[in-house]
Amino acid sequence: MATLQLKNINKIYDNNVQAVFDFNLEIKDKEFIVFVGPSGCGKSTTLRMIAGLEDITSGELFINEAKMNDVLPKDRDIAMVFQSYALYPHLSVYDNMAFGLQIRKVPKAEIDARVRDAAKILEITDYLDRKPKALSGGQRQRVALGRAIVRNAEVFLMDEPLSNLDAKLRVAMRSEIIKLHERVGATTIYVTHDQTEAMTMATRIVVMKDGYIQQIGTPKEIYNNPANMFVAGFVGSPATNFLHGRIENNSFVIGDLHMELPEKFDSDIKDYEGKEVVMGIRPEDIYSEGIVEGTYPSASFTFQVDISELLGHESILHGTFYDQPLIAKVSTRLGIESHSQTKLTFDLGKVHFFDVDTTLRIDK
C-alpha cells in the first residue's frame, strides 16, 4: 500500500554524533525490509526518521512519492513497535492497544474485535486489564507489538519486536507477522538481531554498519554473495572464517596447502595473481564427512580441534589452521571431541575472495 524512498539521508544528533550517513533506499509496495547491523549502527535512528520522530538532518524522505520530511508523525499513517516499548503506563493493556484505534474513531465493536484478536495471537488475553507495570518483560514487548498490529497502517516499523521472547513464542510470532504482512500487505521495515528472522522474513535485507549501508539484497544474495568482508562476517553464525593466503596459478595458497580453485573464479582472480587475498568460508561449508572430499581433494587437511562445542545436533569445532583461527560446524553424530584431530575439507564451491585493502568481494 505504500512505497518509500530515502534519498541521501543523513542524521546528526544534537551532540554532533552522526548516526546515519548518506542513506539511500527505495522500498516497493508490500516489501518486507529487514535492517540488520551491529548495535549502534543506526537502525533505530533510520526507523525513527521514517516515522518522523527524529528530524532528518539532510536528505529526503518520500512515502508514496510525497515528500514527508516535514509531515507530522501522526499524518504518516505508520505503526511502529518501539525498541523500548513506550507503553502508556496509565492505560491498561487493552487501552494501550485500543488507543490508536480510538484516536482514529474506529467503531467500538471493531476496536474490541481487533484488540481481542491481536491479544489472542500474542497470547496476552489474560492480561488485558493489567497495567504495563504488572507485566513481565516479554509480555510488555508483546503489548508493544500488539499496539502496532491492531492498526491497519500503510507502513509498519518494527524495532526488534521479538527480542525478549522465548524461541518458541518467537517462532510463532514470526509466522504471525508474516501472515499479517501477507494479509494486510503493508510495507514493513523490521529491525532484528536474529538472523533466522532476517533470513526467513525479509524480501530484502539492508545491512548497516557505523551508519553506512553495506549491502542491500535478498536474503539469498546477502548470504551467498556478501558484498564485502563485513557482510560475510556479520551474516551467519558462527561467523564466516577469513583466511589470508595468496593466489598462485588459479590456486589459493596457505602455508603448504595449494587449493585448486574451481573454474568460475578464473577470470576474477586473474588480477590478484601472486597477491595476498582473503578467503571467506562459512563454518558450515567445512565438512568432516566425505561429502565434498571427492570434488575438492586439494582442499582437505587435518585439523587440530582445540574445543568442540556441543550444540545439540551440531558441534562447533574451534582450532587454528596455519596459525589462523578457524571454526567449523559439523554433525554431532561424528562425535569429534576437544583436543582431537580430524580430517576436514573446504567446500571450494562456496568460498569467496576478498580484497585485503578494500575488503570488497573479488569474485562475481
Binding site: V71, L72, D75, S84, Y85, P89, P132, K133, G137, R140
Partner: protein
C-alpha cells in the same frame, strides 16, 4: 490541507501566548513606569507616561526602608530557611512517598492537615511559645536567644513551609519508577545513599519548584518576621512598610513602587536563572518499558 490545520493551531498558540503576555506586560510595565514617576503624577489618570525618569525614588526607597541592613537579613532568613527546609523536607517526603510503614497514614494526615493551618493566626501562639522559652533560657544562661534571632526565624519559616513542601515533593517522588532504586540497592547502595545520590537528583524539577516557591514566600513574608523579630533588626518586607501610605498622610507613591520593584527583583532573577532547569526531564532513557 493538514498543513492548514497545523498552521491554524500554531496561530492559535501564538495568539494565546501573546494575549496573556500582553495582559501581563502592560500592567507590569505600568509598575516599572510608576517607580520612576514623581508623586504628583499619581493622581489623575494612571495611564499617563512619566514626565521624566525620577530615579530619586529608588534612592529614597533604599534609604527609607533601610534596605541595606534589611536586605542582608532577608537573604539570611530566606537562604537559611530554604536550606533547613530542603534538608528536613526531602528525606521526609522521600520516606513518605516510597515506603510503606506503620503510622504512615497518620503522618501523612498530619502533614496534610498542616497545609490548612494559616500562619496568620498561629503566629501569635508561636510568639508566646518562643517568649516562654526565652524566659526559661534566660534564667539558665542569662540571655534570650529565641526572639529577635534570624536563625530561629529561618527555622520557623522552614517549619511553616514543611506541609506544602512535603506534599509537593511526595507527590512527585511517587511518580519516579522503582527500578532506579532497585538498581541502586543492587549496586550496594543503602537507603540513605540511594535517596541522596539517585532519587533526589531525579526529583530536580520539583525541587526547583519548591525552592522557587518557598524563596518567594520567605522573601515576601511579613507577619512572622514582624512578630518574631520585634527588635530593630528587620527583614525587607517589614521594612518596606515604611514606604507604604499611612493614614491621613500624603502618600509617597514613587518610592513605594520603587521599593516594591527592588524587592521583587531577586525573586525574578532567581526564576530566570533556574527556569530552564525546571523542564529538564531527569528520568529519560534509563528504562525499557
Amino acid at each position: 490541507m493538514d498543513k492548514k490545520t497545523n498552521r491554524l493551531y500554531r496561530i492559535f498558540i501564538y495568539v494565546a501566548l501573546f494575549t496573556l503576555a500582553i495582559s501581563i506586560i502592560v500592567p507590569v510595565a505600568w509598575v516599572f513606569l510608576a517607580s520612576v514617576k514623581q508623586n504628583s503624577e499619581f493622581y489623575g489618570s494612571p495611564w499617563t507616561m512619566p514626565i521624566g525618569l525620577h530615579f530619586q525614588n529608588f534612592i529614597d526607597a533604599i534609604d527609607k526602608a533601610n534596605m541595606g541592613e534589611y536586605f542582608i537579613n532577608s537573604i539570611v532568613a530566606t537562604g537559611l530557611g530554604l536550606l533547613i527546609l530542603l534538608v528536613v523536607a526531602l528525606p521526609a517526603s522521600y520516606a513518605l512517598a516510597r515506603f510503606r510503614f506503620k503510622g504512615k497514614k497518620i503522618v501523612n494526615l498530619g502533614f496534610m492537615s498542616g497545609l490548612f493551618i494559616n500562619v496568620n493566626y498561629i503566629v501569635v501562639p508561636i510568639f508566646l511559645m518562643l517568649l516562654s522559652w526565652d524566659k526559661g533560657i534566660s534564667q539558665i544562661i542569662g540571655q534570650r536567644i529565641f526572639l529577635n534571632n534570624i536563625v530561629v526565624l529561618a527555622i520557623i519559616y522552614a517549619a511553616t513551609a514543611l506541609p506544602f513542601t512535603i506534599y509537593l515533593l511526595t507527590s512527585y517522588f511517587r511518580t519516579l519508577p522503582k527500578a532506579y532504586e532497585e538498581a541502586a540497592y543492587m549496586d550496594g547502595s543503602g537507603y540513605f545513599r540511594t535517596m541522596v545520590k539517585i532519587m533526589i537528583p531525579m526529583a530536580k524539577p520539583s525541587i526547583i519548584t519548591v525552592i522557587l516557591f518557598n524563596f518567594l514566600s520567605f522573601w515576601n513574608e511579613y507577619i512572622i518576621a514582624l512578630t518574631l523579630m520585634p527588635g530593630a533588626s528587620k527583614t525587607l518586607p517589614v521594612g518596606l512598610i515604611n514606604l507604604m501610605q499611612s493614614q491621613k498622610a500624603a502618600a509617597n507613591y514613587g518610592p513605594m513602587y520603587a521599593g516594591l520593584v527592588i524587592v521583587m527583583l531577586p525573586t525574578l532573577i532567581l526564576y530566570i536563572m533556574v527556569q530552564k532547569k525546571l523542564t529538564q526531564g531527569m528520568t529519560l532513557g534509563g528504562l525499557k518499558d
